[in-house]
């Protein structure tokens, strides 16, 4: 098995008086799409935010590509090659779509082939290229947030619930986009509540509950085992198709 790109070892996170992560341990292998599943409040978003340094881990270690990033500031983590797409469609609404993309390309102009590829994934963005991003619909904002994360090559994408609140047609577009990203060899850690989307995309799966990883394995194994789905997530794939 290849060396993981990201390794969390017994990570604990406190937010104020609340102990949210209770020793998260997991590996994210390079070049694969890992799904992070779990009920609301399980600690999925906190895990992503802790990796990004937005919330500081109170103990444990986070190693990215062999480097300890546990105490790194958020800009350092981002400059190290981790892109983060929060669940709140985190775009800059006062800036144009173009400015949002250029802002994300910190190392210089966006490579034209990359821009072609990116706009191929999200063709709707072309139409609004020079318009304020605040004018976009919810799905288009989510597309822009993901496009911004891949505006320049990143080693790892952390994406938090990209299909949340989107219409079914948008969810299908989003699944196609992530499938294309996966085929392009991107390493992705994707938080998702929609098990249909998760099962369609994931190579691996991590299931969280009460601030811990309670299951780790291949996505195909979870999809095939309805009893396991019931036990971990309280659902079966059949019910969601």
């Amino acid at each position: 098995m290849s060396e993981p790109l990201l390794r969390l070892q017994d990570v604990h996170t406190h937010i104020g008086p609340y102990h949210i992560l209770h020793g998260v341990t997991c590996d994210i292998p390079a070049g694969q799409l890992t799904m992070l599943l779990g009920r609301n409040g399980a600690g999925k978003t906190t895990t992503l935010r802790t990796i990004m340094g937005l919330w500081r881990a109170s103990s444990g270690s986070i190693r990215f590509d062999g480097r300890d990033i546990t105490r790194c500031s958020t800009p350092s983590v981002a400059q190290g090659g981790i892109a983060y797409v929060p669940e709140s469609m985190a775009i800059f609404t006062d800036l144009t779509v173009r400015e949002n993309i250029v802002l994300a390309a910190r190392s210089g102009p966006v490579d034209s082939a990359r821009l072609d590829w990116m706009l191929g994934l999200f063709p709707a963005l072309k139409r609004f290229w020079n318009l304020p991003a605040g004018n976009l619909s919810g799905g288009q904002k989510q597309m822009l947030a993901i496009a911004r994360a891949i505006a320049e090559p990143r080693r790892l994408l952390l994406v938090d619930e990209p299909t949340k609140g989107l219409a079914p047609v948008m969810v299908r577009s989003m699944i196609e986009a992530f499938r294309a990203l996966k085929e392009a060899g991107e390493t992705i850690l994707l938080v998702e509540q929609n098990f249909y989307a998760a099962s369609a995309l994931g190579d691996n799966v991590l299931v969280m509950d009460d601030g811990r990883i309670v299951h780790s394995g291949a996505m195909s194994d979870l999809v095939a085992d309805q009893a396991l789905q019931q036990r971990l997530l309280g659902l079966s794939l059949d019910a969601h198709q």
Binding site: F92, P109, L119
Partner: protein, 373 residues
Amino acid sequence: MTATPAIPASFDEARPRGGLLAGLLSSDMPRSRALSFILIAIVLVLALTPFLFSGSQPLSTAAKICVFIVLVASYDLLLGYSGIVSFAHTMFFGIGGYGIAIGLEKLGADWGSAAIGLVAALCTSAILAIAIGLLSLRVRAIFFSMITLAVASAMAVLASQMSGITGGEDGLSFQLPYALRPAFRPFAEPVFGVMINGRIVAYYLLFFVAMGMFLLMLRIVNSPFGRVLQAIRENEFRAEALGYRVVAYRTAASVISALAATVAGALLALWLRYNGPDTTLSFAIMIDILLMVVIGGMGTMYGAIIGAALFVLAQSYLQVLMEAGSKALAGIPLLPNLIHPDRWLLWLGALFVISVYAFPGGIVGRLRQGKRN
């Protein structure tokens, strides 16, 4: 299939280009015909004031507008573009004034002394802005505002106490370099009917420096740096997640804004040939700047021109207008008392409240919205 848009090499190229004027305005055009007309009118009147009006008051009013355009634009860079609420802006304004005043009063009335005073003031402002930024921009906005208020108050007290250097409460009066004195006559004959003297030369020095500073700030807010500031203003965590160091960018914005305010203070001192705590350091000026930014339109830059012109004109002429109105309505009960010149501040306040209600995005925001509609 829609063609892929051209790749933006930078934010400057990410905006449509349109010749010399667009280049001068950093492609940030007024985007409203009415706004363009008002801006052109203000700049033209300011440029031609010595030839359009006689007497010293119109020239002084125009000079004050020029100074406040720089001061308000620099505060807009801080508040409107970076989302930083600072109450120390008049401190930097005062440092600029004292730099020029101390330089010319202590070292002699020549250009070298003025340059030394200005450079010393700029260095002092930069150091203070960096110190305040690095120490306090990490804390919550309200605490940052309180810290700047405390620092500005301390500086005002310091300026009053150090009377040996600053002249204390009396301030400092000083001589200008000869080319800026009223006795200086560059031309033997009148130009377009006006005898050019050192006061007019000083006015044009103010006008051109103010316009240059304004265009420079317009360039800054439309640069990649300016876009990052806007991103930080909208959501600092998102900007950090993209790899931008928020404190560094905010500190840089504070320094740029402080330096521009220092230049504005220096210009005012040059015009008044005097600097004291009340002319540059008072908290009342800070309130005026805030009003001008809000009336003009926050985060627009052009709002600085309109806000400064409107506010300074109201300050200078509202009393005169009210006096005329009061006399005209002499026979009617109540009304003459209501618009008595002594109540000009009340009406200025009412105008401000009305303008905030009518134009929540400021005059520029309103005019641009009108264009979109």
